[in-house]
Every structure is written in structure tokens, then in C-alpha cells.
Amino acid sequence: MQIDNYLIRQTSLEKLFNNLIGNGKTVFAPQASEKRILFEKVKAFSEITDNYLVTTNAAKSVVFPRTEKLFSYKKTKETTEITDASTEAVPEVVLWGTRPCDAAAFIPLTDTFNGDYPDILYNNRRGKVYLLSFSCATCDEYCFCTSVNGSPGNTAGSDILFTKLSTGDYLAEVITEKGKKLVAENQTLFEAAPEEEKEPNLAKVKTYFNQDEIQAKLQNLFENPVWDEKSRACLGCGSCAFVCPVCSCFDIQDEKHGSKGTRLRCWDSCGFSLFTLHTSGHNPRETQGARWRQRILHKFLYMPDKSKVAGCVGCGRCSRVCPADINILETVTSI
């Protein structure tokens, strides 16, 4: 689709925000607190921070909540009555302030929840999400989007991508139908495209590796000491998976309250020792090294083999939060 370029004044951003809220949309945006910056539901423009590299958590919970009802049930002596959770109304959500890596993550995420078995719960939510991303002007040593076919100004996945220009105003690239709809609803705020180029306003993210080369190398790397070596300090928690914008492994859990209850989908992680444990006590992934290998192979080999898109967008969140300082970039570049 043809990308339409506009200029949006710094002062107009707040107006756009207010219009979105006024139109009944729920807006999630980066909000700063002492220890973290999270995508949170915001009511006022002033609650949003623009002083962040990436948020601590990923935006995925908007489409893949950490605990999500699949259905509810009511049981009587005679029978069981099931109420489908996918028929419940889903709000229109604007994700404001996603980074290009965050937006790109929705592509593999959507792949996972589709294929032969389209997941209507996910698709309902995804269909109602508008991604209003902001290009990156800064990066750090954990960022590696350019190694996984992304970039600090990548438009893939976003509906509109804003890039701050030297004037303080923004270039708005309108990428999708959804984006065009928002522009149409806010016509007065979008002015003729600026002359200033986008590129000089973007962060310079170092390219450490080439995804295609890594994918080729991983084909024959199942048995390799690198997995144990690089995961030796791994504590076996799920923080890497839970802050990852692409990770979508889940558990299914029932909750019962008397004769009623729900079946829930809950986030799960391949880093947990119980993830693959058989009832017999046998565990096909016995060690943390085997689990780390699964994480890397899934992202850099299995997913791109299956759907052409890697399961990693190079946001670096997993490495930033890891309590044992296990660094995904370090593992991949050591291959």
C-alpha cells in the first residue's frame, strides 16, 4: 500500500490524542514511574512520557492479555452450559508510542495466532488495535533491530509512524487503511508533507548479524556447547518471555467458583522447567541449556522457516530485564 506523508505539528499531537479519547477509543501509552516505563491506559496527554527508549513491558498484552478468558461455563447436575468469550465486545484500542520494533512484533504474533487454526479471540482484539508508533532517535547497546530486518524508522506493522524532525514537529507516515481512517477523522491536524528528510532524525542502530545467515547456521546447531555455555547463569524464570513482544506461549487453566467457572489462557514460558514436563516425570528439555536453545531456535530458525518472519524484533527487552544478565544478542552473535 502507498504510504502517505504528512506533517503534524508538535502542538497538534495533543489534539490528536484528545480526539482519539473523545471518539471513545482506549489509549495505551508509555507511562513512567520510578522503576519502569509501562504501556498503560492513559486518560490525559500529560500522563504520557516521551522520554523512553522502549517500555519495560511489551505492548502484546493488548491483543494477548496475560490472563484471558476463553469461555465461561455453568454446570448443573444434568448438563454443562458454555458461554463463548469471543462474542464479548472488544474496545477500540490505540497503542500510542509503540516503537518500530514493537509494531513489527505484531506481524509474527499474528502469524502464530492464525494459520490452520485462526484464533478469534486474538483476531478480534487485533482488529480493534491502532498502532501509532514513534521512530527511535536514540538506541542503546541492547538494541539490534537492524540485524533482524527492522530499523529505527521501520514502518512495518504500524498504522501511522511519527518521526520527530529538527523543528520539533513530526513527519507522519500513514501506512495502512486504519491509519488513513484516523487521518480522515482528523484532517485538520495533518498538513502537507515536510521537506526535511526522515533518515537524519533516526538513531544509528549497529547491525551485528544477518538474520538469514543466522537462520542458515542454526540448521545444524542443535547439538552444540554454546547452549549450555550461554545459559549457565540462567535462573529459569520467565522474565525474558514475558517482556518479549513476540513470545506467545501459553498455558490453559481452569478456575472454578462453585458450579460456575472459566477456562483461561495464561502466559507461559519455555524457560520454566515444568513447561515440557511429562506426567510420567520424563522431561524432553531437562536442562536450562535445552530451554535456552529452544528459545533461540524458535525465534531465529523455526519461526522464520515457517512464516518467513523471525520471532525476534531486536528490541533488547529480554536482555535488559534478565536477572542473570543473559544477553540474547551475545548468544546469537557467538554462533
Binding site: L70, F71, Y73, K75, T79, T80, I82, D84, A85, S86, T112, F113, G115, D116, Y117, P118, D119, I120, L121, F222, E223, S248, C249, F250, D251, I252, Q253, D254, E255, K256, G261, R263, R265, D268, C270, F275, T276, L277, H278, T279, S280, H282, P284, R285, A290, Q294, L297, H298, L301, Y302, D305, K306
Partner: protein, 279 residues
């Protein structure tokens, strides 16, 4: 499934419960909804998610043959939370079922061949489906041999069917129990499945071998089959890994790049050799 929400189970009424062995039961399940019953189709080798709402889901194969219409059967051992809840269900109770999932045994390709079924313990159920499937189309196949072993005589499942198969002239049935697991009147073999198989020594000529059992049994049975002259592509097995969704999303059952839930559970010996030992 008819429901667009792929997590919603069919409601199935338990028509009949058979106690197979200590802690092992077979349920015969009928669809609550007539239309669902009519539309439901599956093939040998496929599995499903059986559930008690409020407790959870558990994965097992469909143990009845697709040639027997109107119901499905499952056989399970009471081990964890869900199987314990299932075990306490009674005839007439309603349980949940999602499926069928996974690939199937290529039974149509086996026309005109000999079949050797090799199973251990609670792994007879996935095999029972394909055995009955073959027996109901008996004229399509040449010799049928079944080698089945369990830890003890009491642990042998489908005892009535074993008797029936044993009495049929068109089946060669060999049952065995582990040393020490026999009873005074035990007339079958004593020994582990791989060594009994070696003794039975079915001809590999124009023969398909189907192996189901715990990973350790599979590990020791494959070399015996090789010794008997079976080519990898004439051996089939089913893998069992921990699963939640059954359709390739929850992310835990993969063996290397292959998901047991969608690429399996049926794998040929040839395919298995290409997979890492992650099962």
C-alpha cells in the same frame, strides 16, 4: 470444529465406562449435539483434548476406530489432576472434548501389506484405533501380527479384545509381561517387548511396523526392527509430548521444528531419525 472459538469443546456424554486395568479406564463418548455428531470425522492416529470444566484439559488419542460411527472412545490412566477428575466421572456425566487434532496413520497406503503392531503398556490405545480400523477392512491387508506387553498381567488393557483377537484365525497375537509380572496361569510370553519381538521375528517383506510405547521402549524396539530388516520408511510411531492447545500455538510440544500436535503425532521412522531427541 463448528465453533469459531477454537478453545470451546464439544460436550460429550459418557455412555459407558470400562475399567481396563488398575487406574486405567475407557470412556465411550457420545456427542450431546446431534449435528456435531453427524459432522464429526476423524482418522486413525488423531488425538483430542478431553476436559472436565473447572479442572482442565488432558491430551490423549482417540482409541476407537473411525469405522465405528456415532461415538468415540478414549483410554487413560489416572495420574494427574485432570485424569483424576475424569476417573471420578460417572456414566451419564458430560465432559468436554476438542479435536480431532494432528496427522494420521497413512492406512490407505498400507493396502496389500502385512501389518505388525508393537505396543507397550498404556500405549495400546493409539494402536487400538488403527488395529480396529485395519480389522474392519481386513480384506485390504495380508498378515496382521500384534505384539503387546505390559508390566504385569493386571496392567494389560482391553483384556476382552485381546481375548477376541487371540481367538481370531486371521490375527497373530503375542502378549507378554515383564519378568515378575506374570500370574500362575499366565499363558503368554514373559519378557520385554523388544526381546519378544525379536523372538516372534515377523518378516520385514512387504510389512509395515507400527510401534507405540514409552520413549524407552521405542528406543529399544527400533534397533530390533532394523535387525529384522525393516526399512525406516516402513516403521511408524506416535509421539507424545506435553500439550495444552493441540493446534500449534501454546508452544511446548515441538521436537525440533516439528510440532507433535500438528506435524504429528504420527511419525515414520524415517522422519524420526531427522528429529533431535527432544521427546
Amino acid at each position: 470444529m463448528n465453533n469459531p472459538n477454537i478453545y470451546i469443546p464439544y460436550l460429550m456424554r459418557i455412555e459407558k465406562i470400562t475399567q481396563e486395568a488398575p487406574g486405567v479406564k475407557t470412556f465411550r463418548l457420545k456427542f450431546e449435539n446431534k449435528q456435531e455428531a453427524e459432522e464429526f470425522e476423524f482418522k486413525a492416529g488423531q488425538f483430542g483434548e478431553y476436559s472436565i470444566v473447572g479442572v482442565g484439559e488432558s491430551t490423549f488419542c482417540i482409541a476407537s476406530s473411525p469405522t465405528r460411527k456415532g461415538y468415540i472412545e478414549c483410554t487413560f490412566r489416572q495420574v494427574g489432576r485432570v485424569t483424576s477428575a475424569l476417573a471420578s466421572a460417572e456414566e451419564g456425566d458430560v465432559i468436554g472434548f476438542r479435536g480431532p487434532y494432528g496427522n494420521t496413520f497413512p492406512i490407505d497406503e498400507w493396502k496389500g501389506k502385512n501389518l505388525v503392531f508393537i505396543a507397550g503398556g498404556i500405549a495400546l490405545p493409539p494402536m487400538r484405533c488403527v488395529i480396529w480400523n485395519a480389522l474392519d477392512l481386513r480384506e485390504n491387508f495380508e498378515d496382521i501380527t500384534i505384539v503387546y506387553g505390559a508390566r504385569t498381567v493386571a496392567d494389560l488393557v482391553y483384556k476382552h479384545e485381546l481375548e477376541e483377537w487371540g481367538n481370531r484365525p486371521d490375527i497373530k497375537l503375542v502378549t507378554t509381561v515383564d519378568p515378575g509380572g506374570e500370574t500362575p496361569d499366565w499363558k503368554g510370553e514373559i519378557g520385554f517387548v523388544p526381546s519378544v519381538l525379536e523372538k516372534v521375528a515377523p518378516s520385514a517383506e512387504n510389512t509395515i511396523a507400527i510401534v507405540c510405547g514409552p520413549p524407552i521402549m521405542i528406543k529399544f524396539t527400533f534397533p530390533v526392527l532394523e535387525k529384522l530388516g525393516f526399512a525406516d520408511h516402513n516403521i511408524y510411531t506416535t509421539l507424545e509430548n506435553r500439550m495444552k492447545c493441540g493446534f500449534g500455538k501454546c508452544g511446548r510440544c515441538n521436537v525440533g521444528e516439528k510440532y507433535v500436535c500438528i506435524d504429528g503425532p504420527v511419525f515414520s521412522g524415517e522422519e524420526l531419525k531427522l528429529l533431535p531427541a527432544e521427546y
